[in-house]
Symmetry: C2
Subunit: 246 residues, 2 copies
């Protein structure tokens, strides 16, 4: 029997290239509100496999640049949108023998929420086109690369679910907003109307907003502008929005 190795010796002889291991990547569903609907950022693949198909932005971990998985996610988001401090949450990992033609692969899916104002979308070497697309349209009519359709579904479900008991939609609005704008954002994601008084009571009682002092004027009564207190971007309510009683 061979003499036992020390951990140092073991690591010295260890060569990852000798093993059959899965490809590992990060993919993101970056959501925003545009044109009164929930949209998601898609890139058109400029490389094989699935060249020419629309896909969620993502890519491989850069073992040199990235110290952690969340670094990879932030880097990808920054590359595509120029934004680097949005709401970012890991959702789920998808791994199987057949989700990528190159072989067994694992992808870690992230969900990001950003306000689309002032975002300049940027293509890079792996994508020839970048665009915002209606989530509803993508889910009903499109055919995304790999299993990105399923990944988008899971991220969208996670978002819809969390909107029932958190303040996440705040992250989809600019820094100053009115309560009506915030309510509309909740309604767009939930897909149901929300009762105005309950909504305002809920948000204001949570003490997560500050009046900025400014007012939003339009063609009617002006509305108070609010901004979010630091912890307000990820507040958890003790009860869910229940929706209309029939």
């Amino acid at each position: 029997m061979a003499k036992e190795l020390t951990e140092k010796q073991f690591l010295k002889r260890y060569d990852i290239h000798e093993f059959d291991i899965p490809l590992t990547s990060v993919d993101m569903a970056i959501f925003t509100i545009r044109g009164g609907e929930l949209q998601v950022l898609l890139v058109k693949r400029a490389q094989h496999p699935s060249k020419g198909l629309w896909a969620l932005p993502g890519g491989f971990i850069d073992l040199k640049k990235d110290r952690t998985l969340s670094d990879t996610a932030h880097r990808k988001l920054l590359e595509k949108t120029g934004v680097d401090t949005p709401y970012l949450e890991q959702v789920e990992s998808f791994g199987s023998a057949d989700r990528d033609a190159r072989g067994w692969s694992v992808t870690v899916a992230y969900l990001a929420l950003i306000t689309c104002d002032d975002i300049v979308l940027a293509a890079d070497e792996s994508s020839e086109e970048v665009t915002w697309m209606s989530v509803e349209k993508v889910e009903q009519e499109m055919d995304l690369a790999f299993d990105h359709q399923a990944i988008l579904d899971v991220c969208h479900d996670r978002l819809k679910n969390k909107v029932q008991y958190t303040s996440l939609p705040i992250n989809l609005l600019p820094t100053e907003f009115t309560l009506t704008e915030l309510q509309k954002t909740f309604e767009i994601i939930l897909g149901i109307p929300v009762e105005k008084k309950s909504f305002r009571r809920r948000i204001l009682d949570a003490d997560i907003l500050e009046e900025t002092g400014g007012m939003k004027t339009g063609s009617n009564r002006p509305a108070k502008l609010y901004s979010t207190k630091p912890e307000g971007v990820k507040h958890f309510f003790s009860r869910s929005i229940e929706g209309p009683r029939r």
Copy 2:
């Protein structure tokens, strides 16, 4: 400029061994209730790295045997416990340059709930010892391999959190149980007392249990035995257990 490759040509020339990619594994926090406390299954590592340290059970994806990530998780669970149809849920993936001495690595963490009755723990070539250990003790006094301490914390947090609004603890009990036993299980995980009447109302109104007809006799009034309806193992309540009001 080179002629463009077809996808077929691209895939033929693709060799995963040419790339620097992270190691990818699956680790599990397998929870049970034993001795009136929440315990987690640990294995003592028989191989480098971290040889001799206690760790969460887990291992690499077997590209031949496993078609999906969840296959890997089920396989690992079966290897250690002999159980293969428990409650199993993916929790989060952890990836970084320094969590494993062998290099950049990603692990997908799963949470499993099983009843410890009739489980025969089995060591294999990568673990010389397998044991149940109090979660409280592990978190307070032990030093697990890799970042398994952090992974256990996250899985434990996920469990505590979900117990507030789901029926998950049902999965920690044998097929027949009394309402008092179920309540105790909730209390052990939550770490707070639960009000008896509220608890029974909540569980029975949810219509997730069936009376088996049997009674559990002891030295006092016998208690009705219940079993779970098929969908009852993962019921979501519309409101959370709030705990005592002060």
